[in-house]
Subunit: 92 residues, 10 copies
């Protein structure tokens, strides 16, 4: 079951550059593990924005919420989720 997510990241001003760098390291690890497990089917940067579009392949809404809540930067993200269904014109 597929979902499109748009995630916008805004760090609070009190975070230091070192703290942000550490968040980015942990984020990359978590994101990589989600992709290797097949739960995250893709992630792309939105040009010019500290934001991404990503595709999630999950069993349920609960699983998706749990995965999203696991992102280290989750407290600093604004996420919008769009449920996707099979398109009749898709050849896949």
């Amino acid at each position: 079951m597929l979902f499109l997510a748009r995630m916008d990241v805004t760090f609070p001003t009190h975070l230091t550059e070192a703290q942000i760098a550490e968040f980015q390291v942990r984020e990359k690890e978590y994101s990589g593990s989600l992709q290797r497990s097949g739960k995250m089917a893709g992630i792309w940067r939105i040009v010019g924005e500290y934001a991404n579009h990503s595709l999630f392949e999950v069993e349920s809404n609960d699983e998706l919420h749990q995965l999203l809540g696991g992102f280290p930067m989750y407290p600093y993200m604004k996420i919008k989720v769009t449920p996707l269904a099979k398109h009749p014109n898709s050849i896949r």
Copy 2:
């Protein structure tokens, strides 16, 4: 080079059901050919809406505009295009 598109379709009220059905046949053919050529990397229905999210893999903005303009239903579509870049956390 990847782009995310959202396409919303609204048919004018003067179209007959037969005309709409014909549009849908031609749309499916065109969409299929774009997917087989690799230009359209995916298309998904937005749940509950006569709309889709789709991914396009093209050489240029001009090529993308030409492909989008070729959809039979193009005159009845409202399309929003978002340019995507490689995400540093993507493992692909």
Copy 3:
């Protein structure tokens, strides 16, 4: 798996009152069958609007899209779907 939907209905001006009445009869039947099957967990009128909020309990995004597309008034509806997860404070 639960989803909240908001459906706004707008009839085109060329429909007669008789046609609208027939749509309403068929809509009531379809809505009733969805509720009896447990797929639609509730439906409420938004005060002052020709619109409703409804809750759907389904197996997948695809099933939800199929159910929504089955409403007789579907061509005249604008639907927004929000995926819901279990809330940690829910006692149910």
Copy 4:
């Protein structure tokens, strides 16, 4: 009399994690008591957001405002309330 509420929570940056955790404990207690009393008929997490949709069964607007104002996190919530009426197609 039923109302749908959407509540979005945003904590100010000066709150410590311990303070937030305490808010969450008190929130869970309050939310649980409202549900046991039947005043809150349901609460669901919006997938990917620190927000919920909830249903309230109350006697009056004043009672609803009083209940909402009693949430420990109320000062940090943005709430939108939609009054609901019985839907003619509801079988309940």
Copy 5:
């Protein structure tokens, strides 16, 4: 129990001036009866717009929806309802 409503009226273009005039006569009668019954506590024109703000004093959401649906121009109205509670600073 008080509600603020904003009603915007848009007539479809196929209505004749005579039909609109007749709607206005029936609307005035209905509106007057609601005011005399105390259900409608006030109605004001929004300057420069074919719209009004009005206050309703009702027993329930269901009653309000029924009253609003009874306006002759209801099919041509877009209505937004805001539930109001007693304000702690009100001297009434």
Copy 6:
């Protein structure tokens, strides 16, 4: 001459609870005096929000701006004013 106002209050995070409480005392006094003078014809809480709708009966735009600017919480308010005219269907 009547105006509808919607006032949303947002306190800056550096205010103490004691300071806020003092603002509320002064606000109540000022609001009460406006109501007793007849300048403020009504004030209602918007359910679930730290906001109100209120009606002002004044001689001029300048008078209204002066009255609004006199609210102790004015620096923390976002106010939207809608000018109202007599409605042809009003029986008052």
Copy 7:
């Protein structure tokens, strides 16, 4: 007492060019008379739009609504009115 209005004109498609031209003649006459009487203190075209910003100097909200409703094109206008007060920095 001054008000800023923004008026956007949209003619329905069934009007002929001759009918539109006649509206424009009558509109110019009405607008001119308002300006000569001092009730309309200025009118300017918004560049690139079939819309204007105009200033009205009136005694009351009721008078303003009556003046606006008198525009021949009023049924085809969308008007937003902003009440203005004397600015402390104005030298007039």
Copy 8:
């Protein structure tokens, strides 16, 4: 050449009342000089808001931007500029 500007002022919370008062003195001087030079043709307070609508009579976009940038409060303003043209119905 005329432009309508809307300016909304928001002071950061770290400014003292004395600093704000000084800004207001300097603002009044600058605004007065612009008006006396004929560059600013009018300024009005938007009722209930810390905002104004003002008219500028300038030679070019560059001149307008320079004038606006010269306001002492410019760093705390959000400005929207609308270019105006002569209206065919204007008698001036």
Copy 9:
């Protein structure tokens, strides 16, 4: 003096394909003449939309409004104009 315009074209449904084709021929001629005169400094298609962004180099707001009003498709365009000034970082 430079302005950025965004023009969105929407043809009414009663226009025939032949009429639209004729509009496009006349539009191309007019657009070409504006470009050759230097008044229009550039025009680009917005990918996926029947819309353009264009740059105008004119002497005044009045001249710009006259040029825009001269487009054959002007009655079917929605235009938003943004005045531009020299940027301090521009090397031109």
Copy 10:
């Protein structure tokens, strides 16, 4: 391949005037180098706003994102990118 960008700059309140001035020096250098390389085809100030519209001529979305991310003020910018295609009426 051309893109239109709109960049809005908002500095956090903790930056000193000296820090902002240094950002502006570095921004001017970077912007100048992009223009000299032909990657940035133009940059214009939006009148009255701390914002610009700029045109980028790049090989790919990835290149554009890299260039935008290189602006010294990038962490303080909100950027919206619009992909542009050749317009059939362009004479260039």
